[in-house]
């Protein structure tokens, strides 16, 4: 019924993988090469520029970045007690350490530590992991620490294990009373977040 009923079998030239070089009146090949390269480069730049927003959108958004600090009332914490608060979606232990805990922590020689760096955001990056460097000046009894095992992110149990500090039930990492890794697979001391005592009763974390 239509003007052609069955399409004819067709073959095409096999040398179709690239543009045929021109002859009389055809463009200069070098100019064409430049054109192809420039066009290809634009395509690559365009694709990459389109990809970046698709990737960056997964980073924390402006609202998450703005939620940077929490204030904690610590007036009701007795020596030897601690509370846990949330900061950036992670538990932060605020512990008013007993004298015994502090003495034990101070007695450890730096050479015995698996991770000799303080990991304290309030100090320089390379500060040694002394007990004092795990706290802030004048408030050495207060350990404010992100209570997340540096191995694979479990929450260790407090006041347990061979060193009287923290014991991670997931893979057996043991931390001492200053939250420093002593034994087990965890590579680093538990991190100290940026914090300050804004008065005697209140700690601001972040």
């Amino acid at each position: 019924m239509a003007d052609t009923t069955t399409p004819h079998p067709i073959t095409v030239p096999t040398d179709s993988r690239h543009v045929e070089p021109g002859e009389a009146g055809a463009p200069d090949p070098s100019r064409r090469d430049f054109l192809l390269i420039a066009t290809g480069a634009f395509a690559v730049v365009g694709a990459a520029s389109f990809a970046w927003p698709l990737i960056d959108q997964m980073n924390p958004d402006a609202a998450a970045l703005a939620l940077s600090s929490v204030e904690v009332d610590v007036s009701s914490i007795q020596q030897g007690q601690s509370i846990t608060v949330m900061w950036r979606g992670k538990p932060v232990a605020v512990r008013y350490r007993s004298d015994k805990e502090m003495q034990e922590a101070k007695a450890v020689a730096l050479g015995d530590l698996k991770d000799p760096i303080a990991r304290n955001a309030n100090l320089k990056d390379d500060a040694p992991a002394t007990d004092q460097n795990r706290t802030v000046p004048g408030k050495e009894a207060w350990l404010v620490m992100i209570e997340v095992c540096t191995h694979l992110g479990c929450i260790p149990l407090g006041q347990q294990g061979a060193y009287g500090g923290w014991f991670c039930p997931c893979h057996g990492s043991q931390y001492d009373t200053a939250g420093r890794i002593r034994q087990g697979p965890a590579p680093e001391n538990m991190a100290i977040p940026p914090f300050q005592f804004i008065n005697e009763k209140t700690v601001r974390i972040g």
């Binding site: 239509a2 399409p7 004819h8 927003p53 959108q57």
Partner: protein, 426 residues
Amino acid sequence: MAEHTSTYEPRTGIERWVDARLPLPRLLWDSFVTYPIPRNLNYAYTFGAILMMMLGAQIITGVVLAMHYVPSGTMAFVSVEAIMRDVNYGWLLRYMHATGASMFFIAVYVHIFRGLYYGSYKEPREILWLLGVIIFILMMATAFMGYVLPWGQMSFWGATVITNLFSAIPLVGSAIVTWLWGGFAVGSPTLNRFFALHYLLPFMIAGVVVLHVWALHVVGQTNPTGINIKAKQDAVPFTPHATIKDALGMVVFMIVFAYFLFYVPNYLGHSDNYIQANPLATPSEIVPEWYFLPFYAILRSIPSKLGGVIAMFGAIVMLALMPWLDTSKVRSAVYRPLYRQFFWIHVLVSIGLGYIGSQPPAGGFIIVGRILTAYYFIHFLVIVPLLGLLETPKPRPASITEAVLEKHGRGLALPERTVSNTKVGG
């Protein structure tokens, strides 16, 4: 694929190894590199590639938006605003997705009308055409459910009105509507299921697109002459010829897209959708997105609930019936002087219906709407079948090559090595 012999020659060991086990590279090579296309395709034929690009862009931006969107009656509106304000590049991605939907429809309408003009639905391309109609219906369902997600006033009331269409079904209508809603009105359950389906349907579209392309490659592309490829010189290989032409079409389309996206991102939307959904207050006028307006006008033109719904779906069924309604032996409107005129009238009537759909249903708009609706159906059911019987087509060239020769003047010698100085740009 079926009609030409494979020219893929694996060159390396790895290529041979893969080719012996899963000849996917061969399939792609034969479909998108050496596949012969008519040499006389114009830019209307690049919209298939543009639609592929838009489907990809919508899926990519949509997946990314779903990472931030919360489908619940209380959180949806706020989460969309969080995307617009706080998420890195969220405003860009969301505007891209929202204006992208409109761009998708612009492209699909050009694609459909191109098919109607050049007779792309005719034998042996009926299944190809029907698959296209299925894609169009899936697109409309997807777009409708996507528009509900921001949970603005138009989202909510649009969902209410459109789901209520099903209440026109005798006996089971209201049960179906309650089932669609998951409640006794549009609410959180409705929103949640619309989100799930809005995420699902594009992948179904992608599946049907694969079938659509498959069918296309079995029967071959039409072209402005409507004459199939008969000889080697009628065709050029897909790559680089169609590839680069499609690429140009896509980039130019992207410029239009970028203009809407960056300079008038809310032009195609409705300002009421920036008001959070309120089940207690209907907006003064409920208008669907522009791409539904012609169908909406048809719906409203019939003064009966069930009749309106049937007419609206009938308007799409008309498209599906085109291969059998058109009785002409000639494929392309280029050689059909009368059909060509009626085609353009049909385009104008469709645009007119769209305008009527955007206006309040009162006074003269109702009358004009009814006239145009009647004409819409007359076009398909009366004019198209009659024209095929009554019209005298113009003489057609014997082949694509002859048509090209005609266009460029008889002085040219074909094939391949001739240089056209008259028109190199296409």
